[in-house]
């Protein structure tokens, strides 16, 4: 394992020092591992807090700023943050209008945010939560942990952030966040595994002509191993899975997301196929993102996330945003 790090233990605080140095619009509490907007809470604005394991950058710290998150709590690599971070973030960003927790559906994230929400409420902050669970590779049932939260998190954070910025009350911000999640689906494909600093070697071994279909964002193997195929066919597998779960129609927001070690030129190759697939179905990619947004360390691969748009969602998506990783209109 070769990584551009100083040591396995210090990756997260070291990166937080880098984020602090690179982004004057952010305030970083390196010790407690929280990234805040430098401007502090705005009275009357709903606060948005998210968090999750590190190793998915720019998620979440890269989405802190105007029109998106108020604070992000990075955990250790691929490990959900702890309640202390979330409580500290929640109380700090509350401008009196309450705080929305945006939680990806993993047992760890859910349990830790749940403890944090209870304790924050005890400190007098009104807290609502939205659970992101967009990954169609995982079969959902009452008797399982349910679907994972992956790419749709970016959509939820952006759109809920715009709603909060516009002054919407907590219930309304939570509603729109839930709507985005309900209308979004993701599917991921790995061409290689990733290596966590702690493990020091790839989390699974893929042959030279194999891919993993239906991977998550934590280096977990997917649901099935399959033969490597041209981009057009891999995209079709992913798009078929999305379309089967949530029939695509009308205008959609699409993200072709790199898992961390996929060259951008390849993501554009994939996006061309996504766009062709949608055109075939009479669906319009009205808005799109192509790049690394929700990564899995040094994994090679991609995920596709699609959200069915309506006028409200388009308006909120287009609203100004100014964060390290997403910026327009300002």
């Amino acid at each position: 394992m070769k990584k551009l790090i100083n040591g396995v233990e210090s990756v997260v605080p070291d990166a937080l020092r880098g984020i602090a140095a690179a982004h004057p619009g952010l305030r970083v509490d390196v010790e407690n591992q929280i990234v805040f907007r430098d401007s502090g809470p705005r009275p009357g604005k709903v606060g948005l807090v998210s968090g999750g394991g590190s190793g998915h950058e720019p998620l979440h710290a890269g989405f802190v700023g105007y029109g998106m998150l108020d604070a992000a709590c990075p955990g250790e690599i691929f490990t959900s943050p702890v309640p202390d971070q979330m409580i500290e973030a929640t109380t700090a960003v509350d401008g009196g209008a309450g705080v929305l927790h945006i939680v990806k559906n993993y047992t760890g994230d859910v349990l830790n945010f749940q403890l944090a929400a209870e304790l924050s409420a005890e400190e007098g902050v009104e807290v609502a939560s939205v659970l992101v669970d967009d990954d169609v590779a995982v079969r959902d049932s009452l008797h399982t942990a349910g679907r994972r939260g992956t790419g749709a998190t970016v959509f939820v954070e952006k759109i809920a952030g715009a709603a909060a910025e516009s002054g919407a009350p907590l219930a309304e911000v939570a509603r729109v966040a839930g709507t985005v999640n309900a209308r979004s689906r993701s599917f991921g494909v790995a061409l290689s595994a990733c290596t966590t600093p702690a493990a020091g070697r790839p989390t699974f071994a893929l042959g030279d002509t194999e891919v993993e279909l239906g991977i998550g964002i934590h280096g977990e193997p997917g649901r099935a191993r399959s033969a490597m195929r041209p981009a057009a066919e891999l995209v079709r597998v992913a798009m078929d899975a999305l379309h089967e779960d949530l029939p695509l129609s009308g205008d959609v927001l699409v993200m072709v997301n790199g898992m961390g070690a996929t060259p951008l030129i390849e993501l554009y190759v994939a996006f061309a196929e996504v766009s062709a697939y949608l055109a075939e179905k009479g669906v319009t990619a009205a808005r799109s993102l192509v790049g690394d947004y929700v990564t899995s360390l040094d994994m090679q691969g991609f995920s596709i996330t699609v959200c069915l748009l309506d006028d409200e969602l388009v308006r909120l998506w287009d609203a100004p945003v100014e964060t390290p990783a997403l910026r327009w209109g300002r």
């Binding site: 394991g53 955990g75 250790e76 690599i77 691929f78 490990t79 959900s80 943050p81 702890v82 309640p83 202390d84 993993y106 047992t107 760890g108 349990l111 830790n112 749940q114 403890l115 590779a137 995982v138 079969r139 008797h143 399982t144 942990a145 994972r148 966590t196 702690a198 493990a199 989390t203 699974f204 998550g216 934590h218 280096g219 977990e220 193997p221 649901r223 099935a224």
Partner: protein
């Protein structure tokens, strides 16, 4: 853990230290198990947590078993993260609470320890909604607690009872191998989770084995 065998705060501190030692020694194995069906962090998660616990206890050792277990649980919740942090944290906090409810004395009887472990298991079940057979730490903890209760009811010596609990935990962990995961991260793998030991069950077996090691001193 029969009558006459009382466990003081130092005993619980020793258990926790022994657990910390064996988690540190087993860190790589736990992470490898987690790499197979999870995200390769269970070893470092628990090691980080128990290291913090040992440091917290070194700063100021609580003066009753109940207080000690509560500190252990709270520290795990504060330092581990992931699924195992709140779950193990809750288990220890519930054990502490149970002992407190029983009178929070400086000495705990085998029966009281067993009741505390039952409370810890109940806490894990409530928080994680996992049943036995779901391929989680519950599959090691539940049979261990049952074995302990049975041994005590049958009048076993404390260290024999602890040995039975530890053995049941290890067997329970092994028995997770053929299971298909229905909770936690491994559940995403569906059928592919079959054939691997659950990392949380494996770490539970380490912690129960540590209990026996300390009881047998």
């Amino acid at each position: 853990m029969a009558t006459g065998f009382e466990m003081d705060t130092a005993f619980f501190a020793a258990w926790i230290e022994e657990s910390a030692r064996s988690v540190a020694a087993g860190k790589e194995r736990l992470t490898d198990l987690d790499a197979a069906i999870g995200d390769a962090d269970h070893g470092s998660n628990l090691d980080r947590g128990f290291t913090a616990v040992v440091r917290a206890l070194a700063v100021k050792e609580p003066d009753t078993p109940a207080a000690l277990l509560t500190v252990v649980g709270t520290t795990l919740i504060r330092k581990v993260g992931g699924a195992s942090g709140p779950l193990y944290g809750t288990a220890f906090r519930e054990m502490g609470r149970a002992l407190g409810d029983l009178g929070d004395t400086a000495e705990v009887s085998p029966g009281e320890l067993c009741a505390a472990l039952e409370a810890g298991l109940a806490g894990v079940r409530r928080l994680g909604s996992a049943a036995e057979g779901d391929k989680t730490m519950v599959d090691a903890l539940a049979p261990a607690v049952r074995a302990l209760r049975r041994a005590l009811e049958e009048g076993s010596e404390p260290r024999e009872a602890a040995a039975a609990a530890a053995a049941a935990a290890r067997e329970g962990a092994e028995a997770t191998i053929p299971m298909r995961a229905r909770r936690g991260r491994a559940s995403y793998l569906g059928e592919r989770s079959v054939g691997h030991e659950d990392p949380g069950a494996a770490s539970t077996a380490l912690i129960l084995t540590a209990l026996h090691t300390v009881a047998a001193r």
